[in-house]
Amino acid sequence: MTQSANASGGAVPWVAVGPALLWTLAFFAAPFIAMALVSVTVKGGGFSLANYQQFFTDPSYYRALFNSLEVTALVTVISILLAYPFAWILAEQIPERWQRLALILAILPFWTSYVVRSYSWLLVLAEKGVVNNTLVQLGLISEPIQLANTRFATVTGFVHFFVMLLTLTIFANLKQLSPSYRKAAADLGAGPVRTFLHIILPLTLPGIMVGAFLTFVLATGDYITPQILGGNNELLMPQLIMLQIGRRGDFPLASALSILLMLVVTVAYLACARWLKIERA
């Protein structure tokens, strides 16, 4: 990995890597340690495990973690099921020279601001919004139905974002497959279904896993989408954390909840680690 270049360059390499290391230590590692220390105190008092105790014993607290995991699992599964066929159409069914344009179009709304994207879904799902309006006009429903401020709205907002993200990762994966795999499978007598199940799907699994992991990390840590679309009827973990800071200024409890959320993500990372190697080209 490390090249045969200068084996040692005196102080030069340390001057080069020092600033980035110090920045990460000061503004990433130190904050984390500060948060860990604060999390084992109570507001205005000394050492205490009360914050963690509260989380594990009070249903309204640990419920938020379950809500987060449920929503994330739903979002991940729905997004993969929607994105995979779409990525396949883009990669295999569209003529080569239109693919770039088709892909750029498919991820264009990716570039809307993240706060604005959730707000846009609120417009669509509101009581008198586009969806309700259209359904009433068509006579399918007589009264507007509640779509906004529900788990359905949160999941829709998330799925919208992750369908775009997963389409990108799965598309890239499909394009890397050599067409000779498919030919070889056909020569050996496999039909399209068997070819897909035994050849294409296993070979694109790493792309799906990378996408699923990104979905997991980004969805469990997101405050905006559940807050704007789901409202306060059912709290997700990030909403619970922000609630401690906003209304009560309870930094110790917020810190404890943040650390618990991070632990959950770390466990997921370790579970997916074998598919997520960052390699040097």
Binding site: T2, Q3, A5, N6, A7, G9, V12, W14, A16, V17, A20, L21, W23, T24, L25, F27, F28, A30, P31, F32, A34, M35, V38, F86, I89, I104, L105, A106, L108, P109, W111, T112, S113, Y114, V115, V116, Y119, S120, L123, V124, A126, K128, G129, V130, N133, H160, V163, V217, T220, D222, I224, P238, I245, F251, S255, S258, L261, M262, V265, Y269
Partner: protein, 260 residues
Amino acid sequence: MRSAIRLATVIYAVLIYGFIFLPVVTLVLFSFQATSFPIPPFSGPSLRWYQAVLGDTRLTSALLNSLLVAVISSAVATLLGFLAAWGFARFRLPASALMRGLITLPLTVSYLIIGMGLLVLFNSIGFPKSLSAAGIGHVVINLPLCFAILYSQMGEHQANIERAARDLGAKEWQVLTLVTAPMLWPALFASFFLSMTFSWDEFVISFLLTRFETTLPVEIWNLLRSGLNPKTNAVGSLVFLVSIAFVLLFELVFFRKSRS
């Protein structure tokens, strides 16, 4: 059979494109609404909400703040990432893998937790909430990305050219600024550009770490408290336009490069 599959494919693609574009089209369409609610029926086109946005000094100053934070934090992240990538690629350092791991670690932690940590730290040392505090947070989230991009681009052939420059009497800083940086400019540009888009769009860190002067996403968030409002549509559409401009610029620069 073949045409049935073909038809199903077309219908599926149209449905997904429809789903992807539904909120964006709704947003932009009702930004031209003439009346006060961005809900059907459409009563425009009118530019009154765009005038309202451009006349709102809170929004325009938030936009400038966002650009300022994005440019400065991206420049810092790219510079630190570049120096570190060069140091790790060209020299044999003890515990190199461990240190590289540390620098890329923030990539796996959500913005909310990075923001919370900085809030707790700054609160305990008395560093005030400000645009600088948010900028520091933006460097934390973008540095690992810049480092990963630039480190992956440090190849052996560049090392040879650097050696040649050194043999001809160039000092280390001259090698870096006159040889390495120009050779890596596409990767430097990509790092800077990606950092810009992430910083420009970042909400939760800015929300936690700024108070009076703040960035555009936070100001838009404040607008949301007044409920559905065509003014929010207008500012959202403008932000979308700016982001598309970023992307087009990126495409143009790299498309040209890959052709030449």
